[in-house]
């Protein structure tokens, strides 16, 4: 269990391309998803310490039954997300809108995947489909080996929205306890978890405050703590830092990265920002609008304990450049 295997051949190619310094845009607009099917099992062995992940999970997890990802037998081939040929069409007054068109994506356990693309490219829809907040019109979708609805009913993921969406009539502590109340945790467990996750986002001491007494960044941290409080293996984040200023954003990015490193959760992260995507991710999914589709998937192999300084390195700029090229290609497709 030293290695985390990724069974995606295309990504292996991309990795090689990056490693060998060849960095040009690969015109794989719609072929890409097909080549992602794991029936061509090209396995990359990534020397990323799985052990270093496992220990913190054990430390953080209180309720082992709430987390089924720890079955030892199923670890090596484990896919957190398995999306195949998913399409979603909205019927609007102006006719049909293809929010997602034949999208396929596999995400291994413990990855940090960013979705980037212009408005209307379906990145938020993608997240909502995975969260079972919207149902695809075609295709199959597995979350932790379950259907999206089963995963939602089993409370397997935490969702962080663009806005903190705190409940204004509840104190910070009670906001944190809300999902725990809904899920029927015991009183003492609720108190312990609220304290622990407030400490995790550096907000100890704000228990009795109401949301309006906190700044926007603090509120968003509370909402992240709330999503983590029931210890889901999967974290879905929809532009959580979109409304924050650059400095707060950098700070929260670092904190989020540490959190991911510490807990080993799988994170799906929607963003508009290229530096943010490259800095945070182990994999970047570039999307394009009308119809919403994946046009590139880029692996991003910085160490898990990366710092903000890596943003000045040539490797970072190279990946950012490739994301930018992909985004531009998606746009020109439109014209």
């Amino acid at each position: 269990m030293v290695f985390l295997p990724i069974n995606i051949s295309a990504c292996a190619n991309i990795e090689r391309a990056i490693c060998s310094g060849v960095c040009h845009y690969l015109p794989m607009a719609l072929q890409m998803p097909k080549s992602l099917k794991p029936d061509t099992p090209g396995v990359t062995l990534r020397p990323r310490g799985r052990e270093s992940l496992v220990a913190p999970i054990e430390a953080v997890r209180m309720d082992k039954t709430a987390d089924a990802t720890a079955e030892p037998g199923s670890l090596p081939q484990r896919l957190a997300i398995d999306v195949r040929n998913v399409s979603l069409t909205f019927e609007t007054a102006d006719g049909k809108v293809d929010a997602l068109s034949n999208v396929s994506l596999q995400v291994a356990d413990g990855e940090f995947v960013s979705f980037i693309g212009p408005s209307g490219c379906g990145k938020t829809t993608m997240l909502r489909v995975i969260a079972d907040l919207q149902q695809p019109t075609a295709g199959t979708l597995l979350v932790n080996g379950m259907t999206a609805e089963q995963a939602r009913l089993a409370r397997r993921y935490g969702y962080v929205f663009q806005a903190p969406a705190l409940f204004p009539w509840r104190t910070i502590e009670k906001n944190l306890k809300l999902p725990l109340e809904v899920m029927g945790f015991s009183d003492s467990e609720q108190r312990q978890r609220a304290a622990r996750y407030l400490a995790l986002v550096n907000l100890t001491g704000f228990e009795r405050k109401f949301p309006w007494q906190l700044s926007g960044g603090m509120q968003q941290r509370v909402s992240i703590a709330r999503a983590l409080s029931f210890d889901p293996a999967l974290l879905l984040m929809d532009e959580p830092f979109g409304a924050l200023d650059e400095i707060v954003r950098d700070h929260l990015n670092e904190q989020l990265l540490q959190l991911w490193d510490k807990t080993g959760k799988t994170v799906l992260f929607v963003t508009h920002s290229i530096p943010e995507a490259v800095f945070l991710s182990s994999k970047i999914v570039v999307m394009s609008p009308r119809p919403g589709r994946i046009i590139d998937i880029i692996d991003c192999d910085f160490p898990r304990d990366r710092t903000l300084e890596i943003r000045e390195t040539p490797e970072f700029l190279k990946i950012a450049q490739r994301v930018r090229v992909g985004l531009r290609a998606g746009h020109s497709y439109d014209e």
């Binding site: 409370r155 663009q162 999902p179």
Partner: protein, 308 residues
Amino acid sequence: MTSSTFALPASAAGALRHHPLVVRYAPIVTIVLALIAIWYVAAVMMNLSLVRGGFEREETPYTVSELIAGTMSAERPLLPAPHQVIAAFVDSVFGYAPTAPRSLVYHSTVTLSATLLGFVLGALFGIGLALMIVHSRVLEKSLLPWIICSQMVPILALAPIFIVVLGAIGLQGLLPKSIISAYLCFFPITIGMVKGFTAPDPMQLDLMRTWSATPRQVLAKLRWPAAVPYLFASLKVAITISLIGAIVAELPTGAEAGIGARLLAGSYYGQTIQIWAALLASAVLASGLIGLVDMTERVVGLQMGARP
């Protein structure tokens, strides 16, 4: 408003104009004084021919000042002067034992108990209807037209029917009055609470869904607290309406007690001062009730993290 309330600086009227007490109360006091002045003028003008007729019938000579004094002290004036109304009000509130049939306190308690019972019934009914409407599209379509229709029929026409029908099935006294009052006051509560229950942000509803909360949990932990501001806004409207309902319900019964009965008796016997005193009593009751709802709203608001 940081300066001390009672520190009057030696320098002049300019400072007085900005004194906190003046800033706060001057507009209200001005309006009240103007209204009282207008009232006195109106009382003189309306009662003038009545008083002059009285003097002429008795063939006594009179002066203008006697005439004006007469307009303000007539026993059954067309429009009683403010001081007459207040004197009658004070007399009938403090002049009798609270259980005496001439005491306004007694009549007010009778009306108040019907009002409060009607208000509670109406609030429960209104909230229940709102819950049904929010949770079922079918019910929304089938109930809402009837709810709106119910408010189009004048209550003065409906009240006697209610009293007769309820009397026929053996309901008398407090309950029929409360039912009429509830019939009037449930409407703003239903409308307000439908709005309130649908007030939560789509994001908050999505959150509850991601936690796979049951409909009951969504109601208790999200829809209900989100509706509280709407609840208090509609309660404030409803409580005055339920007071009006209770008073109106006292009219057709020929009830012997209650503010409505007092108004009716006053108009039978031309006791205008008594009518005005009863009106004053209902105004005092109404503002007291609104004040009560207001205070509850503030206390609840503090507990629910409202900004002070």
